[in-house]
Symmetry: C2
Subunit: 494 residues, 2 copies
């Protein structure tokens, strides 16, 4: 029964099938009737709510407020920023009509040809254009700056090849859009927010990330600089997990947003934007989970502790459930999210497998012998270890254990990540590491787009970032042999 | 200066202009570049966040979980439930294409005619259809029931005449969609959730509401019964503030969602849906505000207390701001949301007017005489009264005052509402009360759609609801003279 419940593809044999099985069978998400769009199921959405709450608090601590801008963007807005239109206006959902009518032939409803919009509306793929068009009305003087606004929203990018959470036509995200007096202030904000993302990834998700700058070729369409956090998945592929863009004055110029500065002169406003999305749930799954299912860090787990009665007959059942109720109350008093699974039509082995699949960090099982002895069986999801412990002091022990598990999950991912950053100095090594070991390859690059593109065509590896902490080091480009001044990180990626 | 800042239309002279001025000048929302769509500005969105948090907690206390379903709904889904398509599929945003291309004539981007969707997608006006299509895969047996799911989302209804918050093409809302074994359980859920809405309206918004059933004619398209909460605005018009629908087995039949019941027989699943939206912000504004601006109940106010220094010269400024900082810390320790307005380029009279406009419940002003005497000036927004009080015990006084203001705002609205429920027994009275007094008119109605429609055509008044607490009372229909067994509530409405 437990076997049947899980029945996941094997992670080592077919990572991609394993991932999809896991997302579906753990009840996180599923594909919908609409091509490329997913349904985020309650258990998956609860993870997103936890992410939302933690990030939102961090945004507010750094002075940001939330607002909401329209779902639709007039088509012409996309033409205003030259590189932005290339990056975003192409694969998108286009609203052309505003009414349906009964089919004259009696087959349901059809689009009313008389209800054609004068200008088509694009379902937002990102909101720089509509927001900067709005900011024009909000900004006259330096006294109106900075504007530090974030939006939680859905966006749509018409993707041809989709994967649950990682790449879907519609996804949920937050997008910060800030406006500043000076270049320096906007650059500081860009760095501050990638720092927030790093902190969130490492301290909440337990996913170590490398912070760096994107190359020109990999930059956000319309940005002068894109900072990124790059995580490593257990199959050795990188996953871009959050980006923060310094937009210069590009959007201010495109939407004519000028302000009177402190010298009483007119100047264009400086901008940043930054975002993370439900893609982070994909990163969370792929960074920690195993062949038994999800492994969730306590800080984001919808349930911290599941309590399961072990019994034969009604009397033992009643006694175990009653005691578990008392224990649950003690755990809840410590702020832990607790579930008692008292279903009596399901075997405990099935329950064990189910909560392993769902990645609940701690499982407690209580049987008649435990009741007599004042003990309880405690199992950790991350290590799959179990031990019998006294009921006395249990709540305190479990509260501490949550921190321990959170740290342990991070440390394991960090160890894996650090073991998968490989310095290489020759093209043969470069290809060999990518093919046989995976992970990040730290190599010299001559700084040209042509070389970057050639390497991608040859190996499918891209420059994930120029790490912030990259040291000055003279060397030769691994592909062309031309001079290079520092190493960059390459990887195959999602 | 204060005059210029506010410059609201007069509420008694032009209610509609007053409302719009207030929404825009208090920084709650504004129209966007997209027809009928609004931008919810940070101060307005902060109210929505408070509403969201309170409602979400109440949904979770009543056993509901959140999930997320696609923005897009295949056109054919709307044809599956006969009355639903009439109600919702007509005025909507239709996605017909998924790609733009560079205009061959060089004028920006145009729709790529080769990227036409096989089946058009509708931007959800409400999600019953896509959700019940999904539930089909989730429900096999009574053990899979109930499903108690809520979604926070944006929806689009193509409205021709829009008003900020009250009626916009896109708006934010929550929609609960539940699935049950039995009719009784679904009916209980329908009633439970209208009860949650009532509690929220009265205890958080300070808006008294009448709970009742909609007439057949005013029901949700696809429902067997619609329960509603009806609020009264200060211009005597009613505003439907939340609805909870008993959907019977209509959507289960339309999407073929059957389950094996406890008797091992196949049956269709019973459904409810219920929702409230950003429209509630409109209700909140119109129920309490005055010619000085917003009046916000403390439980939903983004800022509870604003602190303003009164000073001449730098020395007095520094002393006042320092002391206000200490007081702010004491207030924050009580869980109050506090803002110190220490701008030194704005006069205090301007600040007073600004926070009156923004409806901050309490204003504290501290000058040199207060500093010497250990006092502070405390002004209440709801009553516009002020008094000088000791600094000692201030935090406790203000915490208590928040409850007092919350209750006082509700009591005032309740008094107004109760004074505006008028029993009438003749048609002349009916028309006269509607035209001269406004509010709810409690009258007998013969129970037919024809009469309801005729009354609407004659007076623009509709039946807002058949109140839950309507007593059995024999009478004659105010319009036809035909027999009636209870009074219903008519009103002109938003």
């Amino acid at each position: 029964m437990a076997k049947e419940l899980k029945d996941l593809a094997n992670r080592e044999e077919n990572y991609s099938a394993w991932y999809n099985d896991l997302v579906v069978k753990a009840g996180l998400a599923e594909y919908s009737a609409v091509r490329g769009c997913m349904v985020i199921k309650p258990y998956g959405y609860a993870i997103w709510e936890n992410m939302h709450a933690a990030l939102d608090a961090m945004f507010k601590e750094t002075g940001h407020e939330n607002a909401y801008f329209p779902l639709f963007i007039p088509k012409s807005f996309f033409s205003k920023e030259a590189s932005h239109v290339e990056g975003f206006a192409k694969e998108c959902a286009v609203v052309t009509h505003y009414r349906l009518m009964n089919d004259p032939d009696g087959n349901g409803v059809v689009v009313d040809p008389d209800a054609k919009l004068e200008e088509e509306l694009i379902v937002r793929p990102t909101s720089e254009t509509i927001i900067w068009n709005t900011y024009k009305g909000w900004i006259q003087s330096y006294r109106d700056l900075p504007i530090l606004v974030n939006q939680w929203a859905n966006v749509v990018r018409w993707e041809m090849r989709t994967r649950l959470f990682l790449r879907t036509a519609e996804f949920l995200w937050q997008e910060g859009h800030t406006a500043h007096e000076t270049r320096e202030e906007a650059l500081e904000e860009t760095a501050r927010m990638i720092g927030v993302y790093r902190k969130f990834a490492e301290q909440w998700m337990g996913v170590p990330v490398i912070v760096g700058h994107k190359t020109e070729n990999e930059r956000f369409a319309g940005a002068e600089d894109t900072m990124t956090i790059e995580a490593l998945m257990q199959d050795g592929k990188a996953l871009q997990s959050g980006t923060s863009h310094f937009l210069g004055q590009n959007f201010a110029k495109a939407f004519d947003v000028q302000f009177t500065n402190r010298e009483n002169a007119l100047d264009y406003v400086w901008a940043t934007s930054w975002g993370v999305s439900t893609r982070l749930i994909g990163a969370l799954i792929m960074a920690h989970s195993d062949n038994n299912g999800l492994v969730l860090p306590p800080k984001l787990a919808p349930i911290h502790v599941v309590l399961i009665p072990i019994y034969k007959g009604e009397e033992e059942y009643a006694a175990a459930v009653a005691r578990l109720g008392e224990i649950a109350a003690e755990l809840r008093a410590r702020g832990l999210k607790v579930k008692i699974d008292d279903r009596d039509n399901v075997r405990s082995g099935f329950k064990f497998a189910e909560y392993e699949l769902k990645g609940v960090p701690v499982r407690l099982a209580l049987g008649p012998r435990d009741l007599a002895a004042g003990t309880i069986e405690l199992a950790r999801r991350d290590t799959l270890t179990k031990e019998t412990v006294p009921q006395q002091g249990l709540a305190s022990r479990i509260a501490d254990l949550m921190d321990e598990i959170q740290n342990s999950i991070f440390d394991k991912a960090l160890k894996y990540r650090d073991e998968h950053i490989t310095k290489v100095d020759t093209w043969d090594e470069f290809v060999k590491v990518l093919d046989e070991k995976g992970g990040f390859v730290s190599a010299h690059w001559d700084g040209t787009v042509a070389t970057e593109v050639a390497i991608k065509e040859a190996t499918k590896a891209t420059i994930r970032c120029i790490p912030l902490d990259a040291e000055d080091e003279e060397g030769k480009c691994v592909f062309t042999g031309n001079p290079s001044h520092r190493r960059v990180l390459f990887a195959r990626s999602y």
